[in-house]
């Protein structure tokens, strides 16, 4: 066997996450429930958020505050975030009551929890960069809280440039990376079975 790192990585990937697990065309019977839909609904909302956010970034506030199309995309970005959080919280409730960390799924659960925290940070910086009176009010209310924690010098909510770069570059990259790992973990371990059901493996090492 080749000793190159590419070969080692490929062998490890094929052993842990074979293609039939990564792109399955069948799922266990217990997945036929509406409560299993909310993870992918969260991903769909995230896709709309990213797509509308890219349009907002290219066109800028002089467009999305003024033109009808700009206001529409701005609202699409805002409301898809609201749906993203609604779907994610219902997904969280469902997985919590299923004890979804069972069956060696600790990493799946933890990446989901970290993604939730990263989403809150991303949404918060989004509220701060609306460039309107709402964002001005939120930042001036929030600065006292962050200053009281002693982190206001590094995370200055009244610094529009810092908040904008965190919102459009750093935090989406972090959230995107955690989400990818979370989905790969779901594919690797399989969807968690209900508490009284027999787990079904789709092949490969789980």
């Amino acid at each position: 066997m080749s000793e190159m790192w590419t070969a080692k990585l490929r062998n490890k990937w094929q052993k842990n996450l074979p293609i039939e697990k990564l792109l399955p065309d069948d799922q266990p019977a217990y997945v036929s429930s509406w409560i299993y839909v909310f993870g992918v609904l969260t991903l769909a909302a995230l896709a709309v958020i990213i797509a509308s956010g890219v349009v907002l970034a290219f066109e800028g506030p002089a467009w999305y505050h003024v033109s009808d199309a700009g206001k529409f995309i701005n609202s699409l970005h805002f409301w898809s975030v609201q749906l993203f959080f609604v779907f994610m919280v219902i997904h969280l409730w469902g997985k919590f009551w299923m004890a979804a960390w069972r069956g060696n799924r600790f990493a799946t659960w933890m990446t989901g929890a970290v993604a939730f925290v990263a989403s809150i940070a991303t949404a918060f910086t989004g509220y701060l960069v609306q460039t309107n009176f709402d964002s001005q009010w939120i930042s001036f209310e929030a600065k006292d809280g962050f200053n009281s924690m002693g982190i206001g010098a590094w995370f200055n909510v009244t610094n529009l440039g810092q908040m904008l770069l965190l919102h459009v570059a750093f935090l989406p990259l972090i959230l995107g990376a955690i989400t990818v790992v979370h989905v790969l973990m779901v594919r690797k371990r399989g969807v968690v079975p209900p508490i009284d059901a027999e787990p079904v493996s789709l092949g490969g090492r789980s």
Binding site: S32, S33, W34, I35, V37, F38, V86, V89, I90, W93, G94
Partner: protein
């Protein structure tokens, strides 16, 4: 915006206050709606695939 929705949205929120708990009606409605959707997702049967 016009209509009852805009008149509901375009003024400061009305708050419910009981002891330590204070919540706006809007936030309470969203939480209740999420609980309803969660309950429906658990209770409603998933459509079977026709073969």
């Amino acid at each position: 915006m016009t209509g009852w929705f805009s008149s509901f949205m375009n003024h400061p929120a009305t708050y419910l206050h009981t002891g330590w708990l204070q919540i706006s009606i809007s936030n309470l409605l969203v939480i209740l709606l999420m609980l309803v959707v969660f309950s429906l997702a658990v209770l409603l049967p998933f459509p079977e695939e026709k073969k």
